[in-house]
């Protein structure tokens, strides 16, 4: 579904991503792991178009989207839940969900989807009319993922969904990610928390210092290279 070839991202003189290539197949959950500053978020931002890569090719469903604007990539079925959640703090929970569906023209379906997420996360229902900035970190993450799903994406990019959350909440978030995979959604999950990310991953890429170090099934990580400990730790 998604193919990235020889992606290079630079900020001035600093090269954040060096010649990265990866693939995500339909229905797969692919984990992109690596330590802080490895270039994971830069990769995601290049995929959504918020950062313009120095070079490289990004194809979605066979279409080259390397030169397509962010807005149009979202319309093409790719979306991302950014690192740090980036909910609209000054808007209510309900308004956040409605903006997530901004590209859709079926009000009835939008309402059904909102109902669905409110049933799934009752706390969002309780706080529906409140400013989203008043939610806890875990609740904001639930809202951020729900908001991304409101556009009915084909491919969801999740950037550090566990960041800054209590372990119990992290498990809950990844349970939900597992459910999304079971429903057939294609996911690319960027994480530092390898243990959680590997629970549902079909394949794993490991990056550090902007370079791809390893790719393969989750089981290959620990035994073959000891990369698990090297880059990610317990």
């Amino acid at each position: 579904m998604l193919t990235v070839d020889n992606l290079i991202v630079r900020y001035g003189a600093v090269t954040a991503v060096r010649d990265l290539s990866l693939k995500v197949g339909r229905g797969e959950l692919v984990a992109l792991l690596g330590p802080n500053g490895a270039g994971k978020s830069s990769t995601i931002n290049a995929l959504t178009g918020l950062v313009t890569p120095a070079s490289g090719r990004i194809t979605l469903d066979g279409q080259d989207i390397s030169r397509v604007r962010t807005e149009d990539r979202i319309r093409a079925g790719l979306t991302s839940t950014p690192e740090g959640r980036h909910i609209f703090a000054n808007l209510t929970v309900g308004e956040n969900l409605r903006l997530g569906a901004a590209t859709r023209r079926d009000p009835k379906g939008v309402r059904q989807d909102i109902e669905r997420f409110l049933a799934l996360f009752p706390v969002l229902s309780e706080r529906y009319g409140q400013a989203a900035g008043t939610l806890s970190g875990g609740e904001q993450q639930m809202l951020a993922i729900s908001r991304s799903l409101m556009s009915r994406p084909k491919l969801l990019l999740l950037d550090e969904p566990s960041l800054g959350l209590a372990p119990k909440i992290v498990v809950q978030i990844f349970d939900f990610i597992g459910e999304l995979k079971a429903e057939g959604l294609t996911l690319l999950v960027v994480e530092q928390n390898a243990r959680q990310a590997l629970r549902f991953a079909d394949r794993v890429y490991v990056v550090s210092a902007g370079t791809l170090r390893h790719s393969g099934p989750p089981a290959s990580l620990a035994d073959e290279h000891g990369l698990f400990n090297l880059y990610i730790g317990g």
């Binding site: 918020l50 807005e71 979306t79 980036h86 609209f88 000054n90 808007l91 308004e95 901004a102």
Partner: protein, 299 residues
């Protein structure tokens, strides 16, 4: 009693006009970080459109009002498309200088193509009459200013809270990148903000023409300076703050005119700014602005 009521109405009418123009500045600033000093020339384009239409034989005041609003909205969109879009991602000062540039160019166009001298426009004079309520005589223009501004602000609030584009404008004021991640086109959000800003300027232009009965190249510039002050009082970027700041500025000005003896009337502006400075000493972020936490990072 009559005098007090008249002064109250003066303050409300001035305040309403400042609020309209300040809101126009704030809508654009909140999402783009651009202080559009060419906002006064949007008022100018609107006023000169009415002048030209009248010169070409337009007689209907209603058409003139609609024309003023439409011309201002289109001018605002055109300014964005031609001047501000190319510098959208440039540093803030570039945007500010661009705005001054647009302002100077457009003012000079008015002088070159029409005249540096004020031109009489009488088509909207009918709006400015005396209305009698029992013993009270009030200016119809001031009453209309108050009511129309109130309704306009109400419509703006509804738009910002109900429509998807309105929600997007509010969201973009904090986090434009994430708004784009919702698949909402940045150009559309910005063009809408400029169109709203222009429409508000157009409504203000109608009142200015009706009051002055003439147009001149620097018509809107002074008003935009006042609106800028109103935004600072209210907290830059806050829409509610802009409206409140405009109203407060109207009350301070009229209050000083009333309080000061006739021969000290010339000190009105100076004292107005003294009061504003005092206000900012106690609330540097403005009345409704958000305090920006600098921590120990920026010394």
């Amino acid at each position: 009693m009559d005098y007090a009521l008249q002064q109250l109405l003066n303050a409300l009418a001035f305040g309403a006009e400042y609020s309209l123009v300040a809101l126009g500045l704030a809508v654009v600033f909140s999402i783009m970080g651009l202080v559009n000093f060419a906002h006064g020339e949007i008022i100018g384009v609107s006023a000169y459109s009415v002048f030209l239409a009248a010169a070409l034989g337009l007689t209907s005041p209603i058409v003139a009002v609609l024309l003023a609003i439409a011309a201002a909205a289109l001018a605002a969109i055109a300014f964005e498309r031609v001047a501000f879009r190319p510098v959208r991602y440039a540093p803030t000062t570039t945007g500010l200088l661009t705005a001054f540039g647009v302002s100077i160019v457009v003012q000079n166009l008015f002088m070159l193509l029409i005249s540096p001298k004020p031109q009489s426009v009488s088509i909207l004079n009918g709006l400015n009459q005396m209305w009698f309520f029992g013993p009270f005589a009030v200016s119809s223009l001031q009453v209309m200013e108050l009511i129309v501004s109130g309704l306009t602000i109400l419509a703006l609030v509804l738009f910002l809270n109900r429509s998807t584009l309105g929600l997007a404008i509010r969201a973009a004021s904090r986090d434009f990148a994430t708004v784009r991640l919702m698949g909402i086109r940045a150009n559309r959000v910005i063009a809408t903000a400029f169109a709203i800003s222009g429409a508000l300027a157009g409504i203000a232009a109608v009142f200015i023409i009706a009051r002055r009965g003439s147009v001149s190249p620097d018509l809107g510039f002074g008003l935009v300076l006042k609106a800028f002050v109103a935004c600072v009082i209210g907290g830059f970027g806050s829409l509610a703050g802009a409206a409140a700041g405009g109203m407060l500025l109207g009350f301070i000005e009229v209050g000083l005119l009333v309080a000061l003896p006739q021969e000290y009337g010339g000190f009105k502006d100076a004292l107005t700014y003294v009061i504003i400075v005092a206000l900012l000493v106690y609330r540097p972020e403005g009345l409704l602005g958000q305090r920006v936490e600098l921590g120990d990072k920026e010394i």
